[in-house]
Amino acid sequence: MKKIKLFICTLAVFAMFSGSIAQAKVQIQWWHAFGGRLGELLNEQVEKFNASQNKYEVVHTRKGNYSETLNAGIAAFRAGQHPNILMVFEVGTASLMAAKGAYVPMYQLMKDAGQKFNPKGFVSAVSGYYTTTDGKMLSMPYNSSTPVLWVNKELMKKAGLDPEMDLSTWKKVGNALDAAKAKGIDMPFCTCWHSWVHLENFSAYHNIPFATKANGFGGLDTELAFNSPVHIKHIQTLGKWAQEGKFTYMGRRNEAGKNFRAGECMLMTESSAGYAGIKKAAKFEFGIRHLPYYGGTEAPQNTIIGGSSLWALSGKSAEENKATAAFLAFLSRTDIQAKWHQDTGYLGVTTAAAKKTKSSGFYKTNPGTDLAGIQMMRNKVTQNSKGLRLGSFDQIRGIIDEEMEGVYSGKKTAQVALDSAVRRGNVLLRRFERANK
């Protein structure tokens, strides 16, 4: 009996001791928006980091989709219960930037923690999105993608078209759609992320402003400008295609991806990160092309990114900030970035990762996966192609989606819809400016 007691006591003491060892590790929280395959890959990264050293421990939690994650983070911040690292999608960037005092800027975090950090190592088209106009990087790019054109080669053949035909301009795409419709193809064209592809990236690609003041990089007093003749021409074209049954509207987000993967849609504009899903599910030969443009304009300039970056929220101890810095530095390591790029179809956000992927021959065995990177870096970025920095942008995108639905259903002309979207969006921008003076 006594022996058993002694044994239990020893066990208890041991448990306490080992518990204190575990506690000696600095634990930090990371809230993110990735489930499914992406969630598994993210978990892999965290486990690798936790196993690579014994000072810090990262705990990650999924908080829903991008919007839900941002909202959970903001609500937690108000209550003082926020995580160390918050994943914020590109649309929320301006909201975070304006909330000075809510985050520790990346350059500051790295400097305070004594981490080696080279902002120049990031692809400028990506890091520019998260960098102030005076060159200070505020958050760490995590996943970034850009829109491309996806081609179902079998449906192209069925439509009597050469699957390798030139689809570089919207005019040529239009001709292909005409031919497909004439041959009875049900869904010649579909698209995901309407505002992101057909207005935001469209603007950058044609080197025309989406909003004034360098798309909002120049100050909070920016105004929307996506109702120029070129914009109207494109949205009117989409509306016409919708009326003629060549373009089918499936929803505001990436719903159309299902139709493409099922082999129903012939041409689709969608993020380059659609790669993992399409490669896994498509039972047909597919191709990746550059996003089409209009001739007689400044296109093709370069496209911009979508995706998320990681923000270090403020109000944490120096110890924890050190852990955060160490983890973010780990994530930007070339091997981690290259693996992420190849697994997901997201861009390699550091130049070293892109180089490593190229030298490994990945692009040769997976043709088309390098197009997104080329498309983003094909030219020196201009004021119009650096990215967007607009407050309340999630809401503005909602407005744009609504107005575009009016065009697709034939209720509004592109001119009326875009003018209305600009006017309604400007009201929100003024409200945001006022709240963040």
Binding site: R78, A102, M250, E255, D394, G398, E402, E405, S409
Partner: protein
């Protein structure tokens, strides 16, 4: 004759109402006070700074054509859900009431949908009408009717009304059925002997006797359509297309929790609070008078 009970002193009565007062204070007065207070400010999302703006939030709302349209949407939606679910509920109850055998089975089956949470009901109907995989939309396409509730506001409205009314039919059925069972058979028989047809009996005997239940259901269904249909709308349309299914409650949510505009969201809550207050007063003051108990 009204009965009145008097207490001696004030301690016991106070003690007896205290629990209710505490609940009201915590779950009603405190939050509504907060909403009224917040509606006068324009805060940034993180709560780092805030600015007193007076009634600007209300001015901002009332100049927003989509907010005004949301009132109309709410009325159309609530009336459609209430009337369709009550009529169908009454019809089914009248049929079940005439059954001699097996009415228990019908009752059980008809009450089932009530057990389904609004969000789940929304997803179920969404699957049926989904443009990619929906069974109903596939058949409609076969009949030559193009179904796309992502783009067609009327179709979207029809779908959210259908999904919202579906669960309510059970609830209304249950109450109407109980009401019908409570009507003394002798009255109906007397009317039949007087030569009244079934329809005549139904209209001039059954309907007036059902009026307390009808009134109760009217109030409950309107409140349901106003506040409890959030799950259905969120899962099926998220308020779209072009805000054609954005009812007032959904707008409070989307402006406050999606767009982080807490000032506007608070102002909308205040407007909603006033609106519901007025609605309740109207219902009890004018409609209840026509009810025979």
């Amino acid at each position: 004759m009204e009965k009145r009970v008097f207490f001696k002193g004030w301690k016991l009565p106070l003690l007896l109402v205290t629990p209710q007062l505490i609940i009201s204070a915590v779950f009603f007065f405190y939050p509504s006070g907060q909403a009224i207070w917040n509606s006068l400010f324009l805060p940034d999302p993180f709560g780092l700074k805030t600015e007193f703006v007076g009634l600007d939030n209300f001015r901002f709302l009332l100049s927003d054509s989509y907010y005004l349209a949301s009132f109309k949407t709410t009325i159309i939606f609530s009336v459609a859900v209430t009337i369709s679910s009550m009529l169908i509920g009454l019809y089914l109850a009248a049929l079940a009431d005439r059954l001699i055998k097996g009415s228990g089975v019908y009752q059980t089956l008809l009450i089932w949908p009530y057990a389904i949470a609004p969000a789940i009901a929304g997803v179920l109907w969404l699957f049926l009408f989904n443009g990619n995989i929906g069974l109903v939309s596939w058949y409609l396409k076969g009949l030559g009717y193009e179904w796309n509730h992502n783009l067609n506001g009327d179709q979207a409205m029809f779908l959210v009304v259908l999904a919202s009314a579906w669960g309510r039919i059970s609830y209304n059925f249950l109450f109407f059925f109980a009401g019908l069972q409570a009507i003394p058979k002798s009255i109906l028989e007397a009317a039949a002997i007087d030569g009244a047809s079934f329809w005549k009996r139904f209209m001039s005997v059954v309907i007036p006797l059902l009026s307390p239940i009808t009134f109760f259901l009217l109030v409950v269904n309107i409140v349901y359509a106003f506040f409890d249909t959030f799950g259905v709308i969120h899962t099926i349309t998220s308020g779209g297309p072009e805000q054609s299914t954005t009812i007032l409650v959904y707008k409070v949510f989307s402006d406050g929790f999606v767009s982080q505009d807490l000032g506007s969201s608070a102002a909308q809550s205040v407007i909603l609070l006033v609106l519901v207050g007025i609605l309740t007063v109207i219902q009890f003051k004018y409609i209840e008078r026509k009810v025979h108990y």
